[in-house]
Amino acid sequence: MQDLIRRYGLGLTGLMCLIVAFWLLMLVIIPNITLFESSFRPYLPVTEIGGPRDTYSFDNYLKVFDGSIETTFLGIPITVPVHVMTFFLTIWYSVVVTVICFALAYPIAYYMAKIVNPRSLPTILLLLFVPLWVSEVLRAFAWWIILAFKGPLNSLLLFIGAIDKPVRWITDYDAVMIGLVYTYILFMLFPLYNAISSLDTNQIEAAEDLGAPWWKIHWRIVLPHAKPGVASGSVMVFMLSAGSLLVPSILGSTTSQWFTQTIQQWMNDALDWNTASAYAFLLLFLCTLFVSVVMWIFRVKLSDIAK
């Protein structure tokens, strides 16, 4: 702080602090508090707001348990509330997206950190960043076109003979996952790349010299070292996927429903902002809980991730 004042003078420093404080307060803290408060109040006609029926309760939160549907889990028929079902599918597919991102990003990160000639690294980074110059909406639409039943991907695969009849890509959650992996993989790649490049190459060589095969080197040396990077990448991809609205809306099929879409329906279709806020906080709270439990199981500390 003192350093800032010395460098920019009291006036400019004060202005900067004021702007940051305004941003935090008006755009982050107050909206969240307002939503949090309204999530405990019922959805009422305007005339009754502040009236005798406007009392705090958990009713909005308990709405997730309304309206059950029949489904099967591991072959056993069960009855679950439809929104709970949506929630679990969202969590489950976000986990799958996270795992796929890791599986794809790890070899690339290792290649970038340890194998590629440092002189061609800027080119690779540029290639990775180029897609980000296009807006997320356009990229999701691009995938929607690519994956269409009569789209370029099927044409290409038919042309090279990899398939003999077109594949329906936008079905169930398939296209949503492809879109999410594509959108968020860089959030996995960069923490992994950072973690792996801080590993002393001599350690990899020492392991090899002691007779370790390549998979053992990764399992015992590279992965344990990169664990904080894996953790922060996974947390980011998981949280962003579970909270994504755009990709599931554009690439979703008739049978896919993301929890954020349910929130949006409460907000836009039912115009019940109170229940929508309750669902949003439910998602935030349960995802945080889930991430904390997973981190505890893998013995990752918050301070490791911050590194």
Partner: protein, 360 residues
Amino acid sequence: MSAGIDLENVSCDFGTFRAVDHANVSIKPGEFFSFLGPSGCGKTTILRMVSGFIEPTQGVIRIGGKDMRGQRPNQRPTALIFQNLALFPLMSIWENIAFGLEVRGVDKATRRAKAEELLRLVDLPGAADKMVSQLSGGQKQRVAIARALAVEPQVMLLDEPLSALDLKLRQHMRAELRAIQKRTGVTFIYITHDQGEALAMSDRVGVMSHGRIQQIADPRDIYNNPVNGFVASFVGENNVFEGDLGAVSDGMATLSTPHGQFRARINAGVSGKGVKLYVRPEHTIISAAAPPENGVHGTVHEVSFEGAFIAVHAVSDSGMKMVAELRNDGSQVVPAIGDQVWMGFDAQRAAILPDADTKR
């Protein structure tokens, strides 16, 4: 079990730069062999070729008579100790030592027992469950040695393992390493830029400069009979006279220099003008009267007491600085600053040598 190593015409290029140039050396099983040379002369490159991390651009490396071309480091019977040790910081000491056994599928109890045994061998009992960060420099050194020994290599390759230690510990670890080598009988290839270390520990030394091996000999020969000026000056101090060669006979030659006419031994391959004569300070004699030959008259300008010997620095009348080392046992008269003296040397103790071998 130990194996010999043969390098036959081994060269290594990085792009257009030749890091190692036609290295030929045959290291015997159970030998303690050192490569000695200044920074950047290609020592590490040789070691990395033997361990398999770099393939030679040309030439053949044999370990135990077997051609090593195409063999990965994990397939070679060598163990490398890295310049920075490269211990695994996330594993405990015993897991570090047993890593080589773990990858070979040895069960945990046996691994642990073997690690404890090796820790006793390197004189570090009781450290098994510590973490790497809890050890001192010298202790890490020992763990690195134990980790390499655990896989029972036929050849140990050590890349300046003592360079990070302080002087006292370095001297202690020298003796320790030598003892471990004797006890295990494994062939050691040791790399260092410290001539004292190389001379004190090795059975034989290979002196390198600019990618070329200049001389391979036992430590005494390296010091007493260097083959060229580079070896002579890298492994010790010299007074050097430059001049034109005169008559040569029976391996002795005369050299006319601005400081006088000298007679000394001459190595094959030296001829012409601008050749150099090397004489060690401890072979330089100081006297009041002119010696029968190889005498230079001058003035003492500094006398420094070094403990085991006394260094007398003098400037000849012709303007050349010379050093003579006198033993500190009272057998020689130590001149004072400003004294007029004669400096001389025995013709058998001085040598006219070619410059370093740099030809391609």
